[in-house]
Symmetry: C2
Subunit: 303 residues, 2 copies
Protein backbone atom coordinates (compact mmCIF):
# COMPACT_ATOMS: atom_id res chain seq x y z
CA UNK A 1 0.00 0.00 0.00
CA UNK A 2 1.68 3.23 -1.09
CA UNK A 3 1.39 6.25 1.13
CA UNK A 4 4.58 8.27 0.83
CA UNK A 5 3.73 9.32 -2.72
CA UNK A 6 0.78 11.32 -1.48
CA UNK A 7 2.92 13.97 0.17
CA UNK A 8 5.93 14.32 -2.13
CA UNK A 9 8.73 16.48 -0.74
CA UNK A 10 10.02 19.43 -2.79
CA UNK A 11 12.79 17.15 -4.07
CA UNK A 12 10.35 14.67 -5.50
CA UNK A 13 8.57 17.46 -7.31
CA UNK A 14 11.63 19.29 -8.61
CA UNK A 15 13.27 16.03 -9.64
CA UNK A 16 10.18 14.96 -11.47
CA UNK A 17 9.49 17.88 -13.78
CA UNK A 18 11.23 18.25 -17.13
CA UNK A 19 9.17 21.29 -18.12
CA UNK A 20 6.58 23.16 -16.07
CA UNK A 21 4.84 26.57 -16.02
CA UNK A 22 6.80 29.70 -15.17
CA UNK A 23 4.19 31.93 -13.53
CA UNK A 24 6.89 34.56 -12.99
CA UNK A 25 7.39 35.03 -16.75
CA UNK A 26 6.39 38.71 -17.22
CA UNK A 27 5.15 38.06 -20.78
CA UNK A 28 2.39 35.73 -19.59
CA UNK A 29 0.35 37.93 -17.26
CA UNK A 30 -0.49 41.60 -16.78
CA UNK A 31 -1.69 43.52 -13.74
CA UNK A 32 -5.11 45.10 -14.22
CA UNK A 33 -6.90 47.39 -11.79
CA UNK A 34 -10.59 47.32 -11.05
CA UNK A 35 -12.97 47.29 -8.12
CA UNK A 36 -14.19 44.55 -5.79
CA UNK A 37 -17.65 43.79 -4.36
CA UNK A 38 -17.31 46.68 -1.92
CA UNK A 39 -16.37 49.13 -4.65
CA UNK A 40 -12.81 49.17 -3.34
CA UNK A 41 -9.98 49.43 -5.88
CA UNK A 42 -8.16 46.13 -6.50
CA UNK A 43 -5.24 45.14 -8.69
CA UNK A 44 -5.29 41.63 -10.07
CA UNK A 45 -3.26 39.46 -12.46
CA UNK A 46 -4.82 38.28 -15.71
CA UNK A 47 -3.44 35.93 -18.33
CA UNK A 48 -2.25 37.35 -21.65
CA UNK A 49 -3.52 35.92 -24.95
CA UNK A 50 -1.84 36.81 -28.23
CA UNK A 51 -2.43 35.70 -31.81
CA UNK A 52 0.01 33.19 -33.29
CA UNK A 53 -0.29 32.45 -37.00
CA UNK A 54 0.91 28.97 -37.91
CA UNK A 55 2.31 28.27 -41.38
CA UNK A 56 3.14 24.85 -42.79
CA UNK A 57 5.73 25.48 -45.49
CA UNK A 58 4.16 28.19 -47.67
CA UNK A 59 0.59 27.69 -46.49
CA UNK A 60 -1.09 29.72 -43.72
CA UNK A 61 -2.97 27.17 -41.62
CA UNK A 62 -4.52 28.97 -38.67
CA UNK A 63 -4.21 31.88 -36.27
CA UNK A 64 -4.51 30.63 -32.71
CA UNK A 65 -4.85 32.71 -29.57
CA UNK A 66 -2.22 31.54 -27.12
CA UNK A 67 -0.22 32.72 -24.12
CA UNK A 68 2.72 32.37 -26.49
CA UNK A 69 5.23 30.59 -24.29
CA UNK A 70 6.06 27.69 -26.65
CA UNK A 71 5.18 28.64 -30.26
CA UNK A 72 7.31 25.83 -31.72
CA UNK A 73 5.65 23.09 -29.69
CA UNK A 74 2.20 24.58 -30.29
CA UNK A 75 2.75 24.69 -34.06
CA UNK A 76 4.11 21.14 -34.24
CA UNK A 77 1.40 19.75 -32.00
CA UNK A 78 -1.40 21.56 -33.79
CA UNK A 79 -0.23 20.31 -37.19
CA UNK A 80 0.17 16.76 -35.86
CA UNK A 81 -3.26 16.75 -34.25
CA UNK A 82 -4.79 18.15 -37.44
CA UNK A 83 -3.13 15.33 -39.35
CA UNK A 84 -1.25 17.86 -41.47
CA UNK A 85 2.11 16.77 -40.08
CA UNK A 86 2.89 13.03 -39.97
CA UNK A 87 4.79 11.45 -37.14
CA UNK A 88 7.37 10.30 -39.70
CA UNK A 89 7.66 13.73 -41.35
CA UNK A 90 11.09 15.31 -41.32
CA UNK A 91 10.88 18.87 -40.01
CA UNK A 92 13.71 20.73 -41.69
CA UNK A 93 13.24 24.10 -40.00
CA UNK A 94 11.02 26.06 -37.61
CA UNK A 95 11.13 29.86 -37.77
CA UNK A 96 9.48 31.91 -35.05
CA UNK A 97 8.90 35.66 -35.05
CA UNK A 98 7.57 36.74 -31.66
CA UNK A 99 6.93 40.32 -32.77
CA UNK A 100 4.88 39.30 -35.79
CA UNK A 101 3.31 36.39 -33.92
CA UNK A 102 4.22 33.98 -36.68
CA UNK A 103 5.67 30.48 -36.65
CA UNK A 104 6.61 28.64 -39.84
CA UNK A 105 7.13 24.86 -39.84
CA UNK A 106 9.06 23.56 -42.84
CA UNK A 107 9.02 19.90 -43.81
CA UNK A 108 11.02 17.83 -46.30
CA UNK A 109 7.72 16.53 -47.67
CA UNK A 110 5.80 19.00 -49.83
CA UNK A 111 2.40 19.76 -48.26
CA UNK A 112 -0.86 21.22 -49.52
CA UNK A 113 -4.03 21.31 -47.41
CA UNK A 114 -6.05 23.83 -49.43
CA UNK A 115 -9.00 21.44 -49.66
CA UNK A 116 -8.82 20.34 -46.06
CA UNK A 117 -8.83 23.92 -44.82
CA UNK A 118 -12.15 24.50 -46.56
CA UNK A 119 -14.16 21.92 -44.65
CA UNK A 120 -14.33 22.62 -40.94
CA UNK A 121 -15.86 20.84 -38.01
CA UNK A 122 -16.32 22.75 -34.81
CA UNK A 123 -16.15 20.25 -31.99
CA UNK A 124 -17.35 20.92 -28.48
CA UNK A 125 -13.66 21.09 -27.67
CA UNK A 126 -13.78 23.85 -30.26
CA UNK A 127 -10.44 23.11 -31.84
CA UNK A 128 -9.99 24.58 -35.28
CA UNK A 129 -12.04 22.19 -37.35
CA UNK A 130 -10.89 18.74 -38.31
CA UNK A 131 -12.43 16.58 -40.99
CA UNK A 132 -14.54 13.78 -39.52
CA UNK A 133 -13.00 11.10 -41.74
CA UNK A 134 -9.60 11.72 -40.21
CA UNK A 135 -10.98 11.52 -36.70
CA UNK A 136 -12.60 8.16 -37.24
CA UNK A 137 -9.46 6.69 -38.83
CA UNK A 138 -7.47 7.57 -35.73
CA UNK A 139 -9.99 5.84 -33.47
CA UNK A 140 -10.51 2.77 -35.67
CA UNK A 141 -6.80 2.20 -36.27
CA UNK A 142 -5.93 2.81 -32.63
CA UNK A 143 -3.53 0.25 -31.15
CA UNK A 144 -2.95 1.48 -27.63
CA UNK A 145 -0.53 -0.68 -25.63
CA UNK A 146 -1.44 -2.66 -22.55
CA UNK A 147 -0.15 -0.50 -19.72
CA UNK A 148 -1.15 0.10 -16.13
CA UNK A 149 -2.36 2.92 -13.98
CA UNK A 150 -1.88 2.29 -10.28
CA UNK A 151 -4.29 4.29 -8.15
CA UNK A 152 -1.30 5.24 -5.96
CA UNK A 153 0.24 6.93 -9.03
CA UNK A 154 -3.02 8.70 -9.83
CA UNK A 155 -3.33 10.24 -6.35
CA UNK A 156 0.33 11.18 -6.28
CA UNK A 157 0.12 12.82 -9.72
CA UNK A 158 -2.98 14.88 -8.97
CA UNK A 159 -1.44 16.03 -5.69
CA UNK A 160 1.81 17.08 -7.38
CA UNK A 161 -0.01 18.81 -10.25
CA UNK A 162 -2.40 20.69 -7.94
CA UNK A 163 0.44 21.97 -5.77
CA UNK A 164 2.89 22.94 -8.54
CA UNK A 165 3.15 26.71 -9.08
CA UNK A 166 1.22 27.64 -12.23
CA UNK A 167 -0.53 30.51 -13.99
CA UNK A 168 -3.73 28.73 -13.01
CA UNK A 169 -3.03 29.07 -9.31
CA UNK A 170 -1.90 32.67 -9.81
CA UNK A 171 -4.29 34.16 -12.36
CA UNK A 172 -6.83 31.45 -13.16
CA UNK A 173 -8.82 31.31 -16.41
CA UNK A 174 -6.32 28.98 -18.00
CA UNK A 175 -6.15 25.30 -18.87
CA UNK A 176 -3.45 22.79 -18.17
CA UNK A 177 -2.26 19.50 -19.62
CA UNK A 178 0.37 17.28 -18.02
CA UNK A 179 2.31 14.39 -19.50
CA UNK A 180 3.13 11.83 -16.81
CA UNK A 181 4.99 8.54 -16.43
CA UNK A 182 4.08 6.26 -13.54
CA UNK A 183 3.86 8.62 -10.53
CA UNK A 184 6.06 11.31 -12.12
CA UNK A 185 4.61 14.40 -13.84
CA UNK A 186 7.05 15.26 -16.63
CA UNK A 187 5.74 18.14 -18.76
CA UNK A 188 3.07 20.64 -17.68
CA UNK A 189 1.77 23.04 -20.33
CA UNK A 190 -0.80 25.76 -19.76
CA UNK A 191 -2.70 27.90 -22.24
CA UNK A 192 -5.80 30.08 -22.62
CA UNK A 193 -7.00 27.56 -25.19
CA UNK A 194 -7.35 24.11 -23.68
CA UNK A 195 -6.36 22.50 -26.95
CA UNK A 196 -3.24 24.62 -27.18
CA UNK A 197 -2.06 23.08 -23.93
CA UNK A 198 -2.59 19.60 -25.37
CA UNK A 199 -1.01 20.50 -28.69
CA UNK A 200 2.07 21.93 -26.97
CA UNK A 201 2.56 18.58 -25.24
CA UNK A 202 2.09 16.71 -28.53
CA UNK A 203 4.65 19.04 -30.10
CA UNK A 204 7.11 18.50 -27.26
CA UNK A 205 6.74 14.72 -27.58
CA UNK A 206 7.31 14.88 -31.34
CA UNK A 207 10.37 17.15 -31.02
CA UNK A 208 11.90 14.95 -28.34
CA UNK A 209 10.83 11.63 -29.89
CA UNK A 210 9.18 10.57 -26.64
CA UNK A 211 7.55 7.13 -26.41
CA UNK A 212 3.87 7.58 -25.61
CA UNK A 213 3.00 3.98 -24.73
CA UNK A 214 4.00 4.16 -21.07
CA UNK A 215 2.64 7.64 -20.44
CA UNK A 216 -0.41 9.00 -18.64
CA UNK A 217 -2.09 12.17 -19.89
CA UNK A 218 -3.75 14.55 -17.42
CA UNK A 219 -5.97 17.44 -18.49
CA UNK A 220 -7.90 20.04 -16.54
CA UNK A 221 -10.47 20.09 -19.34
CA UNK A 222 -13.55 18.04 -20.05
CA UNK A 223 -13.25 14.61 -21.63
CA UNK A 224 -14.79 15.46 -24.99
CA UNK A 225 -14.52 13.61 -28.30
CA UNK A 226 -11.81 16.02 -29.40
CA UNK A 227 -9.71 15.44 -26.29
CA UNK A 228 -10.04 11.66 -26.62
CA UNK A 229 -9.05 11.77 -30.30
CA UNK A 230 -5.97 13.87 -29.58
CA UNK A 231 -4.84 11.54 -26.79
CA UNK A 232 -5.32 8.47 -28.98
CA UNK A 233 -3.51 10.18 -31.85
CA UNK A 234 -0.59 10.86 -29.52
CA UNK A 235 -0.58 7.16 -28.64
CA UNK A 236 -1.08 7.72 -24.90
CA UNK A 237 -3.22 4.87 -23.48
CA UNK A 238 -4.51 6.63 -20.34
CA UNK A 239 -6.38 9.95 -20.10
CA UNK A 240 -7.25 11.49 -16.72
CA UNK A 241 -9.23 14.63 -15.92
CA UNK A 242 -10.64 16.30 -12.82
CA UNK A 243 -13.53 17.34 -15.06
CA UNK A 244 -16.45 15.45 -16.58
CA UNK A 245 -17.30 13.45 -19.70
CA UNK A 246 -19.32 13.86 -22.85
CA UNK A 247 -21.13 10.84 -24.29
CA UNK A 248 -19.21 10.90 -27.56
CA UNK A 249 -15.92 11.20 -25.70
CA UNK A 250 -16.76 8.02 -23.78
CA UNK A 251 -17.93 6.22 -26.93
CA UNK A 252 -14.72 7.01 -28.82
CA UNK A 253 -12.56 6.06 -25.83
CA UNK A 254 -14.26 2.63 -25.71
CA UNK A 255 -13.79 2.15 -29.47
CA UNK A 256 -10.10 3.02 -29.17
CA UNK A 257 -9.50 1.07 -25.96
CA UNK A 258 -8.40 4.24 -24.15
CA UNK A 259 -8.54 4.28 -20.36
CA UNK A 260 -10.76 7.25 -19.59
CA UNK A 261 -10.88 8.56 -16.03
CA UNK A 262 -12.86 11.65 -15.09
CA UNK A 263 -14.08 13.61 -12.07
CA UNK A 264 -10.74 12.81 -10.40
CA UNK A 265 -10.86 14.87 -7.20
CA UNK A 266 -9.35 13.93 -3.90
CA UNK A 267 -10.27 10.30 -3.29
CA UNK A 268 -12.86 10.17 -6.01
CA UNK A 269 -12.75 9.26 -9.68
CA UNK A 270 -14.89 7.51 -12.27
CA UNK A 271 -13.51 5.34 -15.08
CA UNK A 272 -15.85 4.93 -18.04
CA UNK A 273 -13.53 3.11 -20.48
CA UNK A 274 -10.46 0.86 -20.36
CA UNK A 275 -10.92 -0.03 -16.69
CA UNK A 276 -8.65 -3.08 -17.19
CA UNK A 277 -5.53 -0.88 -16.98
CA UNK A 278 -6.37 0.26 -13.44
CA UNK A 279 -4.56 -1.37 -10.52
CA UNK A 280 -6.14 -0.57 -7.16
CA UNK A 281 -2.97 -0.55 -5.04
CA UNK A 282 -3.80 2.53 -2.95
CA UNK A 283 -5.27 2.20 0.52
CA UNK A 284 -7.90 4.94 0.30
CA UNK A 285 -7.84 5.59 4.04
CA UNK A 286 -4.50 7.31 3.42
CA UNK A 287 -5.81 9.62 0.67
CA UNK A 288 -6.89 13.11 1.67
CA UNK A 289 -9.98 14.76 0.25
CA UNK A 290 -9.23 18.01 -1.60
CA UNK A 291 -9.08 21.09 0.56
CA UNK A 292 -11.84 23.62 -0.05
CA UNK A 293 -9.05 25.94 -1.20
CA UNK A 294 -8.27 23.54 -4.05
CA UNK A 295 -11.97 23.20 -4.78
CA UNK A 296 -12.40 26.94 -5.16
CA UNK A 297 -9.31 27.16 -7.30
CA UNK A 298 -10.63 24.38 -9.43
CA UNK A 299 -13.77 26.38 -10.05
CA UNK A 300 -11.65 28.96 -11.85
CA UNK A 301 -10.94 26.36 -14.50
CA UNK A 302 -13.71 27.41 -16.84
CA UNK A 303 -13.93 28.22 -20.47
Amino acid sequence: MSKAKLVPGPDTVSDSWILRPDPSDPRLTVKVSGVDERGQPVETSVVVERPLTIYLNRQEIVTAMTIGDHPEYLALGFLLNQNMLRTDDEVTEIDTDDDLGVVVVRTKRATNYEKKLKKKVQTSGCAQGTVFGDLMDVIENAQLPKSELRTSWLYSLTHQINTTPSLYLGAGAIHGSVLCERDRPLVYMEDVGRHNAVDKIAGWMFKNKVDAGDKIFYTTGRLTSEMVIKTVRMGVPILVSRSGFTAWGVELAKKAGLTLIGRARGKRFVALSGEDRIVYDQDLSYVEEESSKNRRKAAVHDE
Copy 2:
Protein backbone atom coordinates in the same frame (compact mmCIF):
# COMPACT_ATOMS: atom_id res chain seq x y z
CA MET B 1 -30.96 47.46 1.32
CA SER B 2 -32.42 44.47 -0.46
CA LYS B 3 -32.41 41.12 1.25
CA ALA B 4 -35.49 39.21 0.12
CA LYS B 5 -34.13 38.70 -3.40
CA LEU B 6 -31.37 36.50 -2.05
CA VAL B 7 -33.71 33.65 -1.23
CA PRO B 8 -36.28 33.71 -4.03
CA GLY B 9 -39.24 31.40 -3.48
CA PRO B 10 -40.14 28.84 -6.10
CA ASP B 11 -42.69 31.32 -7.44
CA THR B 12 -40.07 33.96 -8.06
CA VAL B 13 -38.05 31.44 -10.01
CA SER B 14 -40.85 29.87 -12.00
CA ASP B 15 -42.33 33.28 -12.75
CA SER B 16 -38.99 34.57 -13.85
CA TRP B 17 -37.86 32.03 -16.43
CA ILE B 18 -39.02 32.22 -20.04
CA LEU B 19 -36.81 29.34 -21.14
CA ARG B 20 -34.54 27.12 -19.06
CA PRO B 21 -32.79 23.75 -19.25
CA ASP B 22 -34.82 20.54 -19.26
CA PRO B 23 -32.47 18.03 -17.58
CA SER B 24 -35.21 15.40 -17.92
CA ASP B 25 -35.10 15.54 -21.74
CA PRO B 26 -33.97 11.97 -22.63
CA ARG B 27 -32.18 13.17 -25.79
CA LEU B 28 -29.69 15.24 -23.83
CA THR B 29 -28.02 12.66 -21.60
CA VAL B 30 -27.22 8.95 -21.62
CA LYS B 31 -26.47 6.55 -18.77
CA VAL B 32 -23.00 5.04 -18.94
CA SER B 33 -21.60 2.36 -16.66
CA GLY B 34 -18.08 2.27 -15.34
CA VAL B 35 -16.16 1.81 -12.10
CA ASP B 36 -15.37 4.12 -9.21
CA GLU B 37 -12.19 4.61 -7.15
CA ARG B 38 -12.88 1.35 -5.27
CA GLY B 39 -13.34 -0.61 -8.48
CA GLN B 40 -17.05 -0.82 -7.77
CA PRO B 41 -19.44 -0.62 -10.74
CA VAL B 42 -21.19 2.74 -11.10
CA GLU B 43 -23.74 4.10 -13.53
CA THR B 44 -23.53 7.79 -14.31
CA SER B 45 -25.18 10.33 -16.60
CA VAL B 46 -23.14 11.99 -19.33
CA VAL B 47 -24.13 14.76 -21.72
CA VAL B 48 -24.76 13.90 -25.37
CA GLU B 49 -23.01 15.83 -28.14
CA ARG B 50 -24.13 15.50 -31.75
CA PRO B 51 -22.98 17.16 -34.95
CA LEU B 52 -25.18 19.91 -36.38
CA THR B 53 -24.32 21.23 -39.84
CA ILE B 54 -25.41 24.82 -40.35
CA TYR B 55 -26.25 26.09 -43.83
CA LEU B 56 -26.89 29.69 -44.79
CA ASN B 57 -29.01 29.53 -47.92
CA ARG B 58 -27.10 27.20 -50.26
CA GLN B 59 -23.76 27.45 -48.45
CA GLU B 60 -22.51 25.00 -45.83
CA ILE B 61 -21.03 27.14 -43.07
CA VAL B 62 -19.93 24.87 -40.23
CA THR B 63 -20.58 21.63 -38.41
CA ALA B 64 -20.86 22.29 -34.70
CA MET B 65 -20.98 19.71 -31.92
CA THR B 66 -24.00 20.52 -29.77
CA ILE B 67 -26.43 18.91 -27.35
CA GLY B 68 -28.96 19.66 -30.08
CA ASP B 69 -31.81 21.11 -28.03
CA HIS B 70 -32.28 24.36 -30.00
CA PRO B 71 -30.83 23.99 -33.53
CA GLU B 72 -32.74 27.02 -34.84
CA TYR B 73 -31.48 29.38 -32.16
CA LEU B 74 -27.96 27.96 -32.43
CA ALA B 75 -27.88 28.46 -36.21
CA LEU B 76 -29.25 32.01 -36.03
CA GLY B 77 -26.94 32.99 -33.19
CA PHE B 78 -23.88 31.44 -34.78
CA LEU B 79 -24.50 33.23 -38.08
CA LEU B 80 -25.15 36.54 -36.28
CA ASN B 81 -22.02 36.24 -34.17
CA GLN B 82 -19.98 35.34 -37.25
CA ASN B 83 -21.35 38.46 -38.92
CA MET B 84 -22.84 36.32 -41.70
CA LEU B 85 -26.37 37.23 -40.70
CA ARG B 86 -27.22 40.91 -40.15
CA THR B 87 -29.56 42.05 -37.43
CA ASP B 88 -31.73 43.64 -40.14
CA ASP B 89 -31.73 40.52 -42.34
CA GLU B 90 -35.10 38.99 -43.12
CA VAL B 91 -35.04 35.27 -42.37
CA THR B 92 -37.55 33.74 -44.75
CA GLU B 93 -37.31 30.12 -43.56
CA ILE B 94 -35.46 27.79 -41.19
CA ASP B 95 -35.50 24.06 -42.00
CA THR B 96 -34.26 21.58 -39.40
CA ASP B 97 -33.65 17.87 -39.92
CA ASP B 98 -32.86 16.26 -36.58
CA ASP B 99 -31.99 12.89 -38.12
CA LEU B 100 -29.50 14.37 -40.57
CA GLY B 101 -28.32 16.91 -38.02
CA VAL B 102 -28.82 19.74 -40.47
CA VAL B 103 -30.29 23.22 -40.11
CA VAL B 104 -30.74 25.55 -43.07
CA VAL B 105 -31.29 29.27 -42.56
CA ARG B 106 -32.75 31.05 -45.58
CA THR B 107 -32.59 34.83 -45.95
CA LYS B 108 -34.20 37.30 -48.36
CA ARG B 109 -30.73 38.75 -48.95
CA ALA B 110 -28.46 36.64 -51.15
CA THR B 111 -25.35 35.60 -49.19
CA ASN B 112 -21.90 34.32 -50.13
CA TYR B 113 -19.12 33.84 -47.60
CA GLU B 114 -16.76 31.68 -49.65
CA LYS B 115 -13.85 34.05 -49.03
CA LYS B 116 -14.60 34.52 -45.37
CA LEU B 117 -14.74 30.78 -44.76
CA LYS B 118 -11.19 30.47 -46.02
CA LYS B 119 -9.58 32.72 -43.44
CA LYS B 120 -10.03 31.48 -39.90
CA VAL B 121 -8.99 32.72 -36.51
CA GLN B 122 -8.99 30.28 -33.65
CA THR B 123 -9.62 32.26 -30.50
CA SER B 124 -8.97 31.03 -27.00
CA GLY B 125 -12.75 30.82 -26.80
CA CYS B 126 -12.22 28.47 -29.72
CA ALA B 127 -15.27 29.51 -31.69
CA GLN B 128 -15.19 28.67 -35.35
CA GLY B 129 -12.87 31.38 -36.59
CA THR B 130 -13.88 34.94 -37.18
CA VAL B 131 -11.94 37.46 -39.20
CA PHE B 132 -10.09 39.94 -37.00
CA GLY B 133 -11.25 42.95 -38.99
CA ASP B 134 -14.86 42.16 -38.16
CA LEU B 135 -14.07 41.73 -34.49
CA MET B 136 -12.42 45.11 -34.20
CA ASP B 137 -15.26 46.87 -36.00
CA VAL B 138 -17.71 45.51 -33.44
CA ILE B 139 -15.61 46.83 -30.58
CA GLU B 140 -14.77 50.19 -32.13
CA ASN B 141 -18.35 50.91 -33.22
CA ALA B 142 -19.80 49.74 -29.91
CA GLN B 143 -22.45 52.05 -28.44
CA LEU B 144 -23.57 50.28 -25.30
CA PRO B 145 -26.30 52.13 -23.40
CA LYS B 146 -25.92 53.59 -19.95
CA SER B 147 -27.62 51.00 -17.73
CA GLU B 148 -27.20 49.82 -14.15
CA LEU B 149 -26.29 46.67 -12.33
CA ARG B 150 -27.35 46.68 -8.70
CA THR B 151 -25.31 44.34 -6.56
CA SER B 152 -28.59 43.08 -5.05
CA TRP B 153 -29.60 41.93 -8.56
CA LEU B 154 -26.23 40.28 -9.10
CA TYR B 155 -26.47 38.20 -5.91
CA SER B 156 -30.09 37.30 -6.58
CA LEU B 157 -29.30 36.23 -10.16
CA THR B 158 -26.33 34.04 -9.25
CA HIS B 159 -28.38 32.40 -6.48
CA GLN B 160 -31.30 31.67 -8.82
CA ILE B 161 -29.02 30.41 -11.60
CA ASN B 162 -27.01 28.14 -9.29
CA THR B 163 -30.15 26.57 -7.83
CA THR B 164 -32.09 26.07 -11.09
CA PRO B 165 -32.23 22.44 -12.27
CA SER B 166 -29.80 22.02 -15.18
CA LEU B 167 -27.75 19.45 -17.07
CA TYR B 168 -24.78 20.99 -15.31
CA LEU B 169 -26.07 20.06 -11.87
CA GLY B 170 -27.04 16.60 -13.14
CA ALA B 171 -24.26 15.53 -15.47
CA GLY B 172 -21.66 18.30 -15.43
CA ALA B 173 -19.19 18.94 -18.25
CA ILE B 174 -21.42 21.53 -19.82
CA HIS B 175 -21.50 25.30 -20.10
CA GLY B 176 -24.30 27.71 -19.44
CA SER B 177 -25.30 31.21 -20.50
CA VAL B 178 -28.16 33.17 -19.01
CA LEU B 179 -29.88 36.29 -20.28
CA CYS B 180 -31.16 38.38 -17.39
CA GLU B 181 -33.09 41.61 -16.78
CA ARG B 182 -32.66 43.38 -13.45
CA ASP B 183 -32.91 40.54 -10.86
CA ARG B 184 -34.79 38.19 -13.20
CA PRO B 185 -33.06 35.40 -15.14
CA LEU B 186 -35.02 35.04 -18.40
CA VAL B 187 -33.35 32.52 -20.71
CA TYR B 188 -30.86 29.84 -19.65
CA MET B 189 -29.11 27.88 -22.40
CA GLU B 190 -26.63 25.06 -21.89
CA ASP B 191 -24.34 23.32 -24.35
CA VAL B 192 -21.19 21.20 -24.56
CA GLY B 193 -19.65 24.06 -26.49
CA ARG B 194 -19.58 27.22 -24.41
CA HIS B 195 -20.04 29.36 -27.49
CA ASN B 196 -23.06 27.36 -28.55
CA ALA B 197 -24.76 28.37 -25.31
CA VAL B 198 -24.06 32.03 -26.08
CA ASP B 199 -25.08 31.68 -29.71
CA LYS B 200 -28.38 30.05 -28.74
CA ILE B 201 -29.18 33.08 -26.61
CA ALA B 202 -28.22 35.44 -29.44
CA GLY B 203 -30.47 33.43 -31.75
CA TRP B 204 -33.34 33.54 -29.28
CA MET B 205 -32.97 37.34 -28.93
CA PHE B 206 -32.94 37.77 -32.71
CA LYS B 207 -35.97 35.53 -33.26
CA ASN B 208 -37.95 37.28 -30.52
CA LYS B 209 -36.69 40.80 -31.32
CA VAL B 210 -35.58 41.30 -27.72
CA ASP B 211 -34.07 44.63 -26.70
CA ALA B 212 -30.54 44.02 -25.40
CA GLY B 213 -29.86 47.42 -23.84
CA ASP B 214 -31.44 46.68 -20.45
CA LYS B 215 -30.14 43.11 -20.19
CA ILE B 216 -27.40 41.43 -18.15
CA PHE B 217 -25.51 38.49 -19.62
CA TYR B 218 -24.23 35.72 -17.33
CA THR B 219 -21.83 33.01 -18.49
CA THR B 220 -20.20 30.11 -16.69
CA GLY B 221 -17.21 30.47 -19.01
CA ARG B 222 -14.10 32.59 -18.90
CA LEU B 223 -14.17 36.22 -19.94
CA THR B 224 -12.12 35.91 -23.10
CA SER B 225 -11.87 38.28 -26.06
CA GLU B 226 -14.35 36.10 -27.96
CA MET B 227 -16.91 36.21 -25.16
CA VAL B 228 -16.58 39.99 -24.83
CA ILE B 229 -16.97 40.48 -28.59
CA LYS B 230 -20.11 38.33 -28.71
CA THR B 231 -21.70 40.19 -25.81
CA VAL B 232 -20.92 43.57 -27.37
CA ARG B 233 -22.22 42.37 -30.74
CA MET B 234 -25.46 41.36 -29.03
CA GLY B 235 -25.67 44.86 -27.58
CA VAL B 236 -25.77 43.71 -23.95
CA PRO B 237 -23.91 46.27 -21.76
CA ILE B 238 -23.11 44.00 -18.78
CA LEU B 239 -21.27 40.65 -18.77
CA VAL B 240 -20.93 38.59 -15.59
CA SER B 241 -19.05 35.33 -15.00
CA ARG B 242 -18.15 33.16 -12.04
CA SER B 243 -14.93 32.47 -13.93
CA GLY B 244 -11.83 34.54 -14.63
CA PHE B 245 -10.51 37.01 -17.21
CA THR B 246 -8.01 37.07 -20.04
CA ALA B 247 -6.02 40.26 -20.66
CA TRP B 248 -7.38 40.77 -24.16
CA GLY B 249 -10.93 40.22 -22.93
CA VAL B 250 -10.45 43.03 -20.40
CA GLU B 251 -8.81 45.30 -22.98
CA LEU B 252 -11.66 44.88 -25.46
CA ALA B 253 -14.30 45.35 -22.75
CA LYS B 254 -12.68 48.70 -21.81
CA LYS B 255 -12.56 49.79 -25.46
CA ALA B 256 -16.23 48.93 -25.91
CA GLY B 257 -17.38 50.34 -22.55
CA LEU B 258 -18.71 46.94 -21.49
CA THR B 259 -19.17 46.28 -17.78
CA LEU B 260 -17.06 43.19 -17.16
CA ILE B 261 -17.49 41.32 -13.88
CA GLY B 262 -15.64 38.09 -13.14
CA ARG B 263 -14.91 35.65 -10.31
CA ALA B 264 -18.47 36.21 -9.08
CA ARG B 265 -18.85 33.64 -6.28
CA GLY B 266 -20.87 34.07 -3.14
CA LYS B 267 -20.12 37.55 -1.86
CA ARG B 268 -17.12 38.10 -4.04
CA PHE B 269 -16.66 39.61 -7.48
CA VAL B 270 -14.14 41.71 -9.39
CA ALA B 271 -15.09 44.32 -12.01
CA LEU B 272 -12.31 45.17 -14.46
CA SER B 273 -14.24 47.38 -16.89
CA GLY B 274 -17.31 49.64 -16.93
CA GLU B 275 -17.47 49.91 -13.12
CA ASP B 276 -19.65 53.02 -13.47
CA ARG B 277 -22.74 50.86 -14.12
CA ILE B 278 -22.46 49.14 -10.73
CA VAL B 279 -24.73 50.31 -7.93
CA TYR B 280 -23.70 48.95 -4.52
CA ASP B 281 -27.15 48.64 -2.96
CA GLN B 282 -26.64 45.26 -1.29
CA ASP B 283 -25.74 44.99 2.38
CA LEU B 284 -23.06 42.29 2.15
CA SER B 285 -23.73 41.07 5.68
CA TYR B 286 -26.90 39.51 4.26
CA VAL B 287 -25.17 37.66 1.43
CA GLU B 288 -24.22 34.03 2.00
CA GLU B 289 -20.93 32.57 0.85
CA GLU B 290 -21.36 29.70 -1.61
CA SER B 291 -21.84 26.32 -0.02
CA SER B 292 -19.02 23.86 -0.57
CA LYS B 293 -21.59 21.84 -2.50
CA ASN B 294 -21.92 24.67 -5.03
CA ARG B 295 -18.15 25.04 -5.09
CA ARG B 296 -17.65 21.39 -5.93
CA LYS B 297 -20.32 21.56 -8.57
CA ALA B 298 -18.74 24.64 -10.00
CA ALA B 299 -15.50 22.76 -10.40
CA VAL B 300 -17.20 20.54 -12.94
CA HIS B 301 -17.51 23.55 -15.22
CA ASP B 302 -14.36 22.95 -17.19
CA GLU B 303 -13.14 23.15 -20.75
